[in-house]
């Protein structure tokens, strides 16, 4: 009964922490997926009187591609309403149109910087970022991502607090046993063997439970979320990496908490 109580006292905070972490991983994937989608679709229009030359980076963001819009194509669209002489004049006077594709989707602040940098290039007449619609959804996703990070940090701290309290209670309850073992030459680590065993079992159990939770969630995502959000969910085939991350976190947190308290107990 005592062991069962200790087991649940360790496993429950660990599960809560790992579930929050897996939600964080899931949201990250969704945001990253959305980012890559909008980055592929998104381009900045640059209008210049003369060719602008090569662009590698703008305001620290790598340029993926620069496409030049053919003048003939633009003229073709307005050809019907213009006379032959006007068309000739237009051909000579028409500026260069560029579509600049970036490696990543910039934030509003970055976009302002990009606009400034592009405008400062000689002979650039106009820069159009077309960002308002994209930015609204992107900002919302970033906000959700930040909220999840804060939530995860809070849950992490709470879990560490609960685990440390449980270990402290155990040390208090077992103080006589620890003293006797130490009097016989056993180290503090040796006398902590029972709590280490419980922690190992709790860690393994929580990894299994949360991995199953993640597996179930991803496989039933269509049932669990609204259909309009479904297109945002990426194809999650690399689940094993997430489980590895979860396992690493599940091992590191109890380990750090335990050894921190062991050192504290030793110093006392």
């Amino acid at each position: 009964m005592k062991h069962l109580k200790s087991f649940f006292s360790f496993t429950i905070p660990l599960i809560i922490m790992l579930v929050t972490f897996s939600i964080y991983l899931l949201i990250n994937k969704v945001v990253d997926n959305y980012k890559s989608n909008i980055t592929n679709d998104y381009s900045i229009m640059v209008i210049a009187n003369t060719p602008i030359g090569t662009l590698d980076t703008i305001s620290g963001i790598k340029v993926k591609d620069v496409k030049i819009l053919k003048k003939e194509k633009i003229i073709k669209d307005v050809k019907k309403n213009l006379s032959e002489s006007s068309l000739k004049l237009l051909k000579t006077k028409l500026p260069y149109f560029y579509q600049v594709y970036l490696e990543e989707f910039p934030t509003t602040f970055k976009l302002e910087q990009i606009k400034k940098e592009l405008t400062s290039i000689p002979n650039v007449k106009r820069v159009e970022t077309f960002s308002s619609d994209h930015n609204k959804i992107y900002s919302l996703l970033i906000l959700i991502q930040d909220i999840i990070i804060v939530l995860f940090a809070i849950v992490l701290l709470l879990s560490i607090f609960l685990l440390s309290q449980q270990i402290k209670i155990w040390f208090f309850e077992q103080s006589e046993r620890i003293t006797i073992i130490q009097l016989h030459g056993g180290s503090l680590l040796y006398s902590s063997k029972p709590i280490i065993k419980v922690m190992i079992i709790s860690t393994i159990s929580s990894i299994i439970i949360v991995s199953l939770f993640l597996f179930f969630t991803i496989n039933n995502i269509a049932i669990l979320i609204r259909p309009e959000i479904l297109p945002l969910i990426p194809n999650m085939t690399d689940l094993q990496y997430d489980i590895i991350k979860i396992a690493i976190l599940a091992c590191i947190i109890p380990l750090i908490t335990f050894f921190g308290l062991l050192v504290q107990h030793k110093l006392k």
């Binding site: 006797i180 009097l183 016989h184 030459g185 056993g186 040796y190």
Partner: protein, 220 residues
């Protein structure tokens, strides 16, 4: 085995309990440490297993200098001692076999060897019939016999006993004295016992250190 050179022991650095103690306990000695209540008998014994730091002087137990703080050496020393306490200090959650097995586990004995050793020791302390019992199920005398078995389990070269018969009736006390005498006479273990009174007709040669007003001296 134990060598003290001008040792001074104190509690909380306030009052010196033992002052400038000089003595030498040799291998296979049977030593009684006597003195009135509060004279510092148990304090002196505690210093032998590093439970109390040495304020001044040098104290060597099994060639380990206890006046220098070294945790790993202290654990090594304790592993090779057998200690018997007045209040037995058995682990309540362990069965008597598990309690006796503790020093064997700390010495990484093979489990088969340990089981046999525990079986023999239980027979030696006449507790074979209590296999599987927990300390709370035993009388004081039986608990002290378990503590004796634990102290003997790993064949230590030195047994330290702090008033081992202090809480026991005459019969149980005699059993414990016999076990301590056997350990000294037949196993060649050095025994240091803190006691109020030395039993009459003890039957073996022993030395007695008396503590009086903080001074340790060998009494005849």
């Amino acid at each position: 085995m134990i060598l003290a050179k001008n040792i001074t022991l104190t509690y909380d650095n306030k009052r010196n309990i033992i002052e400038n103690g000089n003595f030498h306990i040799k291998e296979k000695d049977f030593i009684f440490i006597t003195g009135s209540s509060g004279s510092g008998k148990s304090t002196l014994l505690k210093s032998f297993y590093g439970e109390l730091p040495i304020k001044k002087g040098e104290l060597y137990v099994n060639k380990i200098d206890l006046s220098k703080k070294n945790n790993s050496k202290l654990l090594t020393l304790r592993k090779n001692l057998g200690i018997v306490f007045q209040d037995y200090k058995l682990i309540a959650e362990y069965t008597i076999e598990e309690n006796i097995m503790l020093p064997l586990e700390l010495h990484n004995y093979d489990s088969k060897v340990s089981t046999n050793q525990v079986k023999n020791l239980l027979k030696h302390v006449q507790l074979s019939h209590r296999v599987g019992a927990y300390p709370a199920e035993l009388s004081g005398g039986e608990q002290q016999r378990v503590a004796m078995a634990r102290a003997l389990a790993h064949n230590p070269s030195l047994i330290l006993a702090d008033e081992p018969t202090g809480n026991l009736d005459e019969y149980s006390a005699n059993v414990i004295w016999k076990l301590l005498k056997d350990a000294n006479q037949h196993l060649g273990i050095t025994v240091v016992v803190v006691t109020h009174t030395i039993p009459n007709n003890f039957g073996i040669n022993y030395r007695r250190f008396n503590i009086d007003d903080g001074v340790v001296y060998e009494a005849s």
